[in-house]
């Protein structure tokens, strides 16, 4: 039908085009996954703040600065007054802290750049997870070794559900460094194990306690919830299966 030359060209074109399409599809399929496109996002912050120094070396607990995470859906970025609580004395002349001092004097907040961002059609409640004794590390990775904070986990729907379905395999139980209240005294040698989970068998016992509250195909599961407060103090909830129904996370 065609000349030999055209025939060869056509064959080459079909094979080449097919390969290009296949590669394109692969790159798009994998490249658009959150664990490729979002993980490793590490923006330069206006102030060169190091979690490695403050958490890893000085062992300041997460909640010292991110206070209010126990009560609030949003985990607050510390105010300038939190920084100045120490830095009014420590390194008071450092040029790296010039922006913090300016912010303190003028009363204008520092514009930190947001690293972890969920789509606006889902909500994530920090307080619920903290009260369920789920450590910050479960979602934020090893913050104590990061100089500049980066996104460590994909924060995709599949990733959330993995944990809601099999928490005992994935979540990190509360570590002393995160300041999460477990309702009990820390073991006596907690000081040597600040960066390790206090109570790892807490999570292992999850499946023994949970009971289904709705039909399994929509999969809302719930543990026995202790009284939310004792004498005005927030009572920690036991970790359990997270809800799987759509409205648990979606508006």
């Amino acid at each position: 039908m065609f000349s030999q030359r055209t025939d060869r060209r056509l064959k080459l074109g079909i094979i080449g085009g097919g390969t290009a399409l296949a590669i394109g599809a692969l790159v798009l399929y994998f490249g658009m996954r959150n664990d490729v496109s979002d993980v490793g996002y590490r923006p330069q912050q206006p102030v060169p703040f190091s979690h490695k120094l403050h958490v890893g070396e000085l062992q300041i607990h997460c909640q010292y600065c991110h206070a209010g995470v126990e009560q609030s859906e949003h985990s607050p970025i510390p105010t300038t007054s939190t920084c100045m609580g120490c830095h009014i004395v420590i390194k008071a002349e450092s040029p790296k802290l010039q922006l913090v001092r300016d912010s303190w004097e003028k009363g204008i907040p520092i514009q930190w750049r947001r690293v972890h961002k969920l789509p606006d059609y889902v909500h994530f409640n920090h307080a619920r997870h903290i009260r369920a004794q789920i450590d910050c590390q479960s979602c934020h990775g090893n913050v104590e070794i990061q100089g500049v904070i980066a996104q460590n986990k994909p924060l995709s729907m599949g990733w959330c559900l993995d944990c809601h379905r099999n928490p005992e395999k994935r979540i990190v139980p509360a570590r002393p460094i995160s300041g999460i209240f477990t309702g009990e005294r820390l073991p006596e040698n907690f000081r040597d194990h600040l960066f390790e989970p206090v109570n790892s068998n807490l999570v292992a016992g999850v499946s023994a306690r949970v009971r289904p509250i709705t039909s399994p195909q929509f999969g809302a599961w719930e543990t026995d919830i202790p009284k939310p407060e004792i004498a005005g103090i927030p009572h920690p909830k036991l970790p359990g299966f997270g809800p799987e129904n759509c409205s648990a996370c979606h508006y």
């Binding site: 590669i23 692969l26 790159v27 798009l28 994998f30 658009m32 996954r33 959150n34 490729v36 496109s37 979002d38 993980v39 490793g40 996002y41 590490r42 923006p43 330069q44 070396e57 000085l58 062992q59 300041i60 607990h61 909640q63 206070a67 609030s72 859906e73 949003h74 607050p76 970025i77 007054s81 100045m84 609580g85 120490c86 009014i88 004395v89 420590i90 390194k91 204008i108 514009q111 789509p119 606006d120 059609y121 980066a150 460590n152 002393p176 300041g179 209240f181 477990t182 309702g183 005294r185 820390l186 073991p187 006596e188 040698n189 907690f190 000081r191 004792i230 004498a231 005005g232 103090i233």
Partner: protein
């Protein structure tokens, strides 16, 4: 197939394999300062104000506005006394600690103390925390277990936590009122442990001082 073709295909296959394995391994291979690429943005960014977010509408770009004059907090209450105004505080909180001294309250006190106080005062309350040692130099941090601090009233300890003292910043904005009273209970316990340690014979005292935090846990 010519050799050139084979080599090309082999390279493509190798690159794809590396990419796929790299992706699936879950290890972070590279970092980017650019925000994640959104191929299909859907409704990821909606037009509303977010906590601590940005709002171009206002001159200072802050979405979160200052409360108007005389606004009251929905939970808790603002601490009424200024730093150093110990007398008023002692009069106001003359009834002492409203919380019962239970295991649960002490556990909470330990948790909050470790979080907010330990950087400077150390886990034992002895005033030699890591931040103190590395940062403050000559500036002394109070040893909460010494005689002078033991003589403080509950109200005074509560006042110092709430309003600060000398270079210690106020913590009323970060620790709830109930939690501050729980910390007072825990500080009292630390003082008792330290006092029990110092009444022992000389050689024992130093050893007990060093391990106060481990004794607390029993």
């Amino acid at each position: 197939m010519s050799t050139a073709w084979k080599i090309t295909l082999a390279i493509v296959a190798a690159v794809l394999a590396t990419f796929t394995i790299g992706v699936l391994s879950g290890k972070i291979w590279w970092f980017s300062e650019e925000p994640p690429l959104m191929v299909v943005p859907d409704m990821d960014d909606q037009f509303h104000l977010k906590p601590q977010g940005e709002a171009r509408f206002f001159a200072d770009n802050r979405a979160q506005r200052d409360p108007v004059e005389g606004a009251l907090p929905r939970v808790g209450r603002a601490y009424p006394f200024a730093m150093g105004d110990v007398d008023s505080a002692e009069k106001y909180f003359a009834a002492g600690n409203p919380l019962p001294r239970t295991d649960f309250v002490l556990a909470r006190g330990q948790n909050r103390f470790n979080t907010y106080c330990s950087p400077c005062h150390n886990y034992t309350g002895t005033g030699d925390g890591l931040v103190q040692k590395r940062g403050f130099g000559n500036q002394e941090t109070m040893n909460l277990t010494r005689e002078q601090a033991r003589a403080y009233s509950d109200a005074k300890i509560f006042h110092v936590i709430s309003a600060g003292q000398n270079i210690m910043p106020p913590y009323a904005d970060r620790i709830s009122e109930t939690d501050r009273w729980a910390i007072v209970h825990y500080v009292r316990e630390l003082q008792q442990k330290a006092a029990a340690g110092s009444t022992q014979p000389n050689g024992m005292a130093a050893a007990a001082q060093g391990s106060t935090h481990s004794k607390d846990m029993q």
